[in-house]
C-alpha cells in the first residue's frame, strides 16, 4: 500500500513541476511587462494589421447569397463533365438502354439549369 501511494506522489510532483515549468516564464514575462517595460500603445500599434496598409471598412459585411447558387450550378456541371468523358469514350459500344439513361441524366441537369435561368439566378444584379 505504502509503495503505491508513493508512486502517485511522484506523479503529483511531476504535474506540479510541469505546470511550474510552463507558468514560470509566463509569469516572468507578465511581471517584466508590468513593472519594468513601459507600455506604449498608439493609434498605429492598436490598428488592424493589414500588411502596413490602413484597414478599410468593416469586416462584418454581407455576402450576396447569389454567389452560392452560382457556385452550386457550376459544381453540378463540373461534375457532369467527368461523367460525360467516359460516356464519350465508350459511345460507339453502348447499348440503347445505356444511351437513353445517359440522355435522361443530361436532361435532368439541363432542366435544372433552365429552372435556374427562368428564376433569374444567372443575371447578376
Amino acid at each position: 500500500m505504502q509503495t503505491a501511494q508513493n508512486s502517485y506522489l511522484v506523479l503529483v510532483l511531476l504535474a506540479v513541476a510541469a505546470v511550474g515549468f510552463a507558468a514560470a516564464p509566463l509569469a516572468m514575462a507578465w511581471a517584466w511587462a508590468r513593472f519594468f517595460s513601459p507600455q506604449k500603445p498608439g493609434k498605429d500599434k492598436n490598428a488592424i494589421y493589414e500588411c502596413g496598409l490602413e484597414g478599410k471598412g468593416d469586416a462584418w459585411i454581407h455576402f450576396r447569397s447569389e454567389y452560392y447558387l452560382y457556385g452550386i450550378i457550376f459544381l453540378v456541371f463540373d461534375v457532369e463533365t467527368i461523367f460525360l468523358l467516359p460516356f464519350a469514350v465508350a459511345f460507339t459500344g453502348l447499348s440503347v438502354g445505356a444511351f437513353v439513361a445517359m440522355i435522361v441524366f443530361l436532361l435532368l441537369l439541363v432542366e435544372g439549369l433552365v429552372w435556374a435561368w427562368r428564376k433569374g439566378i444567372l443575371t447578376w444584379k
Binding site: K40, K43, D44, G52
Partner: protein, 203 residues
C-alpha cells in the same frame, strides 16, 4: 555590479557569475525574430541567409514572423519607394518594443542605384531609426549574418536602468514615429526632422 577582473578570476576557478541584466540581454540577443518583409532584390539574399547554406538559425534569428506583433527586428531588405514608405513606417510602429532595424543594401541606406529616381526614398533612416546598416548591392548573406552579430553586440551592451537606458525603457519617449502621407509631389513631411536633417551645404 561585479568588476570584470574579478569575474575573469572566478571564471578560471569554475565559478560563473552574471547579472540579471546580462542574462536578460543574452536571452534577448539570441532570439531576435525578424519580420517577413522583403522589398526588392536584397530580400533574395535575406531568404538565402535563412536557408540551410548560411543558416541564420545559428544566431536564433531564423524565425521570420508574418506579423509585426511577434517580430523584434525589421530587416529593410530592398528599395523603399515613396509609395511603400508609409507602410514601412506603419509596420515599424506596429511592432512591439524593443524593436530594431537593419537597413540592408544600398537602396535601404541611400536609395542605391535608384537614388536619382523621383519615386525612391533616399534612405529609410529618414523615417525610422536604423540600428545597423549593411552596404552592398546586394550584400552577401554573410554580410547579413555580420549585421545580426553586430546587432546582438548592441543588444548585449544595452543597460536596463539608468539615464542611458534605451528608448523602449523610457516611459516618456514616444514609441511610434509619425507616418508620412502622400503629398502632391513628395511625401509629407519628406523626412522626420527628429531623426534626420538634410546636410547643410556650404558654398
Amino acid at each position: 555590479m561585479i568588476e570584470a577582473g574579478l569575474k575573469n578570476e572566478l571564471q578560471k576557478q569554475g565559478v560563473y557569475v552574471t547579472s540579471l541584466q546580462e542574462l536578460y540581454n543574452w536571452g534577448r540577443a539570441n532570439s531576435v525574430w525578424p519580420l517577413t518583409f522583403g522589398l526588392a532584390c536584397c530580400a533574395i539574399e535575406m531568404m538565402a541567409a535563412s536557408m540551410a547554406r548560411f543558416d541564420l538559425a545559428r544566431f536564433g534569428a531564423e524565425v521570420f514572423r508574418p506579423s509585426p506583433r511577434q517580430a523584434d527586428l525589421m530587416i529593410v531588405a530592398g528599395t523603399v519607394t515613396k509609395k511603400m514608405a508609409p507602410l514601412v513606417v506603419r509596420l515599424y510602429n506596429q511592432m512591439p518594443e524593443p524593436k530594431y532595424v537593419i537597413a540592408m543594401g544600398a537602396c535601404a541606406i541611400s536609395g542605391g542605384p535608384f537614388k536619382q529616381g523621383y519615386n525612391v526614398l533616399k534612405g529609410v533612416d529618414r523615417y525610422i531609426p536604423v540600428d545597423v546598416a549593411i552596404p552592398g548591392c546586394p550584400p552577401r548573406p554573410e554580410a547579413l549574418l555580420h549585421a545580426i552579430m553586430t546587432l546582438q553586440e548592441k543588444i548585449l551592451n544595452q543597460k536596463l536602468t539608468g539615464p542611458d537606458r534605451p528608448r523602449h525603457l523610457k516611459a516618456e519617449v514616444e514609441g511610434a514615429y509619425p507616418v508620412p502621407v502622400y503629398g502632391r509631389h513628395d511625401l509629407e513631411p519628406p523626412n522626420n526632422p527628429a531623426l534626420w536633417q538634410p546636410p547643410a551645404i556650404k558654398r
